[in-house]
Symmetry: C2
């Protein structure tokens, strides 16, 4: 616990994220974050507008903790990578992850991830007008799973069982992608 007697926005957010990870969202108070930085609560207001801004900042910080895949990877592997990266971020930051579904996916950090998915979908051959919707559909499935796991909705199931659940979600998403980009697994040529 370094206690720099000079505070900035990043150190405030990092302290908040650490508290959220360790003790949950209800432990993230202005007094708690200030205490972790050896400062009075009022000192925080120079670096965050208010508590809502602090929480927004935590979500952004979480999003920077989603590693993007290297460009050299094929699109399908890149999508798998990102799904697992999102799940990993949810596991590391379960409390803050719950806030992700709660706000518009239009912040800087959210756009970085979204655009990486867009790019992979284009390479997969998804028609341009379908790209945005396809991203929302697969993000919805991945976020629903990661959020459920992080939030504890799956209860005390074993790690192996939850891993198998995630593999099933990935398979569902993958089959959906095959359908959308119109290749592999050829089936009834309806509409």
């Amino acid at each position: 616990m370094g206690r720099p007697l000079q505070i900035d926005r990043i150190s405030v957010l990092e302290a908040g994220l650490r508290i959220a990870d360790e003790d949950g969202l209800q432990a993230v108070t202005m007094q708690g974050v200030a205490g972790a930085l050896c400062v009075t609560p009022m000192a925080l207001y120079r670096h965050v507008a208010n508590k809502a801004d602090l929480l927004d900042g935590l979500v952004e910080l979480l999003l920077t903790d989603v590693p993007l895949p290297p460009d050299t990877m094929a699109w399908r592997e890149r999508l798998e990578w990102m799904g697992e990266a999102v799940r990993g971020a949810a596991q590391r930051h379960p409390a803050v992850f719950a806030l992700l579904l709660q706000r518009p996916a239009a912040t800087a950090g959210a756009l970085v991830v979204r655009d990486a998915v867009y790019q992979a979908l284009r390479e997969a051959g998804v028609a341009e007008p379908e790209v945005a919707r396809t991203e929302r559909v697969i993000s919805t499935a991945i976020l629903g799973f990661a959020g459920s796991e992080a939030g504890g909705r799956f209860g005390s199931r074993s790690r192996q069982e939850v891993d198998a659940d995630f593999a099933a979600v990935e398979a569902m998403v993958s089959a959906y992608l095959d359908q959308v980009c119109g290749v592999s697994r050829p089936s009834v040529p309806s509409d």
Copy 2:
């Protein structure tokens, strides 16, 4: 706003749900709920153990607001019905819906919905050891979508566009089900 001078657990929860629906979760305070019932905050403690218990009760109340389909419906229509019923409950109670992903899906209300899905999956021909996992996978997708919509993650998109997104999620889930129960849309007979 009837003000019965006799209070019970149901009236406390209903007041809490109304406040959550109208003004959001942060407006659900012991004082706020008590005020709506024309009672002091301390009076609530005879009917709910504490605030966490009140919130748990709100989630249960929301779950009773998910109408189950009539038995006479075929399994696929019943699953569609439940997906739309969950989405509807999320739209009516967006604030409380956010709490759903946050707690174990093992409460009485959650089990009622879960078991209805189990039953439909069995009729669909899903093998018994796959029923539980399949339920988790499709619930994950539906909850992820409904939670995103209710939480505002989709931003200010038009109702029509969000409806189309939901239809795409339903299609993804439906195709997954075809795969799991092994019928229709025959494709490459791999593993």
